[in-house]
Amino acid sequence: MSLEKKYPEEVKQILSKYPPEHKRSAVMPLLYLAQREEGFLTKAAMQDVAGIVGITETDVAALVGFYTLYHDKKEGKYRMQVCTDLPCALRGAEEFMETLCNNLGIKVGETTADGFVTLEAVTCLAACDKAPMFQTQGPDGIKYHENMTVDRTMELISVLRRAGREVGK
């Protein structure tokens, strides 16, 4: 179903932020809205967004490829994006990532066998004083988790897994 049919209020509200003759500006918020559906952007979703703002599918695909928070492939339900950039690395982010990989039994860039978590190494998230840290990108949006230990991270994953199962019931 198209975004305008499914979320008429949200689409209207997003479009109202920009001058009517510049509705292309709404493309990024609309892509976030579309991504909420499947956790990634399908070809149909990109076509839909392109239609709403009046640009080509190629233009939309170029944006999806350019910005790291848009995804065109299905991955884990939650993307766990650990900052391993310079300031975090100076505070143990690389060791944290290594231990986390061992605990999850996957490498950076891989997804757990149950399709729940994809582990990614990302650049600075503006939380350099609270390393090790990561953000989760999932059905509930983007959330920061700061001053983390591997134990607390594993705990968070099992809490999210339990919550997911309960919703599924």
Binding site: M28, Y70, L86, L90, R91, A126, C128, D129
Partner: protein
Amino acid sequence: MSYIVLRHRDIPDLNQLDVYQKNGGFAAFQNAVTKMKPNEVTDVVKNSGLRGRGGAGFPTGMKWSFIDNKNWPHYVVANADESEPGTFKDREIMEGNPFQFLEGLALASYAVGANVAYVYLRGEFWQLADSLDRQIVEMEKAGILGDKLFGGEYSLRIYTHLGAGAYICGEETALLESLEGKRGQPRVRPPFPPAVGLFGKPTIINNVETFTNVPMILANGADWYKAIGTADSAGVKVFSLSGRVRKPGNYELPFGTTFRELIYTHGGGVQDSRPVKAIMPAGASSSLIVVNDEKVLDTPMDYATVRTLGGDLGSASVIILDDSVSMDWLVNKTVHFFKHESCGKCTPCREGTYWMSNIIERIHHGQGTTGDVDLLLNVAKQIQGKCLCALGEFSTMAVVTGIERFPQDFKNAVSPAPLPPLYVKKNEGMEKV
């Protein structure tokens, strides 16, 4: 001294509208709209000596005065794309003291005659955008934003806009492209945004911290603000301190505070009491300042004085490196970052960061030769001065100053004799066998 920007540390619940108003909030905005001419607001900011806090340090009032009054409408945009590795101040400001930031944005909008302002936040600040949206609605309900404010003719709307993960969008013209629904790639300048900005209209863009200073300047006067800090750099700065210190965090201090005071008095000193080897005062895009002499630590931090050490203060995201950090490791980190974040528009940056990344990867993993170090320096120098925006330049700062100021670290990293091949070249950079 009490806080000017991080006032939420003095006043609990300052992120509640009623608390902010009880503490003088929006009095400066109401006073400006009802009693001052727009250019009088600009003049106060100009006289205060306030300089842009995003990194370039450009005089704020002067920027506002550049707005083209022959072309309408005007826009104001807050740059909340905070993405420089080592910077985390704007997030604290917007979480703790959001209304003072929004009041500053409103004052700037009034000063340049804009009826619409946007807050461009990095996509990762998703939760923060959500709370700002709610705060904007509260302001509308309280009659601080909307049509015909305070019984006068001036109207103002503020909207948030989320980016989606791209460091380059902190560059003001790339930010505008992104806000127009395009890939974040910098524009050719001139024309500068005060002449041709958002949707082709005159636009003023400032950093979150810059705006947050403005209400206090309007409330207390230009002279009050100018008396703080140094002659070169007026007022206070929020220093984001990170790296190998005991107490990393944001510290609001007057310009002119020494590195020593920041690191030892506020930051609790270096972890494991090691000596400071180098300082990056402007995040990953800094030159490496050598700390081989105790006097370096006694240097006052303002824009002009830090330059005498061969660096730039930039956004004051001060990363502390101790003697356990080898510069080949560090340069590998910064180059990887810039390679990832290069928008691909200018060839020297796009190709240069790719090749620098290949070479430093080799050096850092013990596969390089002394010739590789020369080659790396050569590639870096060929990027400099050839790109539309500063990202290309930034990608070379740690490379050039790392090699030139810490040659021993690179000598140690390159092997005198070839080692067995640990790495083979695959399509995507280097991969372990």
